[in-house]
């Protein structure tokens, strides 16, 4: 049973298996730094990326830390699309993971303790989304595997994806506003 514990006999609360919340902060920093070194080839952009990574993880509540997602996502423009490019799949997962970690670390103190079981739900959701996103990305790259500017039907495909997403988001916003 999650979180069921017993008394320890001292004044340190017993929460079962746990990890320091600093690990999540450092994990985010590590993922961000790794992605910067992996996908940003220009030294200037690499430095900017690392700086944003440090700022984003040191001060999670500061919005400029999220700019790193933008820099990393748009860095794909300078890479040739390829269905066999492992770095692309890492980038796809890494940007998403940074978003998940950034959302969590915004409210996590550095000196806290986190139940291991508490990290399971966000992790499971990340895996589920990636389990869909990675095959879709591979399929899309395989189907439209030309070069930059030579993808036939991309506009139609992208418009369809954005349209579906917009419908989902609009529904979510309506639900949220109705509850507010």
């Amino acid at each position: 049973m999650s979180g069921e514990t017993s008394s320890t006999g001292d004044s340190v609360p017993d929460i079962g298996p746990w990890m320091p919340t600093a690990i999540l902060h450092l994990l985010g920093l590590g993922v961000a730094a790794g992605l910067c070194l992996l996908v940003l080839e220009s030294p200037i952009w690499r430095a900017i990326g690392l700086l944003l990574a440090v700022v984003g993880m040191t001060f999670p509540s500061v919005v400029p830390g999220w700019w790193l997602l933008l820099v990393l996502g748009l860095s794909q423009l300078w890479r040739a699309p390829s269905v066999t490019d492992a770095v692309y799949y890492l980038l796809l997962a890494g940007v998403h993971l940074l978003h998940v970690l950034g959302s969590l670390t915004r409210m996590l103190p550095w000196n806290g303790r986190m139940q291991l079981i508490a990290f399971a739900l966000p992790l499971r959701r990340f895996v589920l989304v990636q389990a869909v996103a990675q095959p879709v990305a591979a399929g899309a790259l395989f189907a439209f595997g030309g070069g930059p500017g030579t993808v036939p039907g991309l506009s139609i495909f992208s418009a369809a994806v954005l349209g579906v997403t917009a419908v989902v988001l609009a529904r979510g916003l309506r639900v949220a506003q109705a509850h507010d």
């Binding site: 999220w66 996502g73 989304v129 949220a176």
Partner: protein, 467 residues
Amino acid sequence: VTEHAAELVRREAAVDAIALDAIAVDAVPVDPDAIDATVRPTWRRSAAIEVAIVVALVIATVGMLTSRVDVVLIALPLLASAAISLDRKPSPAARRAVRVNVTRSLGDERTSAFDYAVEVDATPAAELVHLRLTLRGSRTHELILAPVGTVSGRVPVLYSGRLRVVAVDYRLVGVNGAWLSRPVRDVVERVVAPAIAPVASIPLPHRLTGLTGTHGSARPGDGGEFRDLHPYAPGDRLRRIDWKATARRSQGFGDLYVRRTDATSDATLILVIDSREDVGERVEHWSAGPSDADGLGSMDLAREAAASLAAAAIGVGDRVGLIDIAAHDGVVRAGSGKRHLDRLLRRIAACEPSGPPLNRRRAPIVPAGAIVYLISTFLDDEATSIAVLWRAAGHRVIAVDVLPAPRLDRSEGNTHLAHRIVMIERRRRIADVRSNGVEVFRWQEDAEQPSRAVVLRTLARVGRRRR
């Protein structure tokens, strides 16, 4: 907000009532009931959703403009996360519960503790619970918990009085950290009865006025120690005639001698607690109020002294009353017996720094012939002036000094100087009351004075000579 505040006030009042009722004679406040901290959370959206949408739309738009499907696809997981977060807003109708249970666990006489259990049940909407746990005598613990679970532990009981055992601040976190509830605070307090130190000899009043008891008084009567041989007088019982003494002493026919004994009597003790201030061992914190870092406080010593004297006196059949000179309702009339001792211990345990400085023109009224135990730190003139008034009224007054031994090892130079000045004033004050006939002794045992048992025995012997 107003309703919530009113609810908190009602809950705290209930906590106080429970805590006060939970004290037993043996310093065992047992309260198995939980403090219900069920609240209805108010949710707000964090910036994570907006940020994810903006970043994803920018990436997707650039990808579309450049006809790069791979770039567009990078935005997909972010949009999916935002959509899931929006779709799973926690329902405002759902009730979340964080319940704090605190029970007293007993070890041997010197160790006892509170066992606490924080039960979390924040399903289904909350994904995480951010709990800030502040324990008595310990640092604050920041905990990130699953929505269902229990956090347990133990808080050692080091001091007496009203203690804030556990303070819990928590907020619930929705999907992906996109939803946050407003922080909620819950505090659990318990009243801990003081330890009762053994008191073998207890000083008594100069004059015993009771009609029955265990102490020998100065007037003749039944039941006490041998007093003298006295010529028989009308009213003397025949069985008190001492025939041997009569045979030895009688001068003529009809002279009879009776054995007379001292009467036994009980004593009346009035315990006066000066609860206007609570100072700890750390001198630099004296003006800031007590804290866990201050170590033993003067009120801890005062409660222990009062409880010990009360238990010892009632144990030998004396009558004991209590006056808390800083509280308006701080008077317990003198009485005896087990139930009265329970009442006294409850009141003593509830004594806490509560009042502004006094400016009394008259001392509180105490019963005639009672001995007054004035328990104070004597850091100002109020207590000593009252002691002198009682002494002038003919009461035997014993001043019990409960100022804890100071710790100055981490203090600055000006603190040393201030402490020295305060101590000089205090010594002068104590010398003044001594010169007025008030007997003084320190409750806390240290190397500077004989043990407490020796001092009390000496004071008891002095009183016995005078009666």
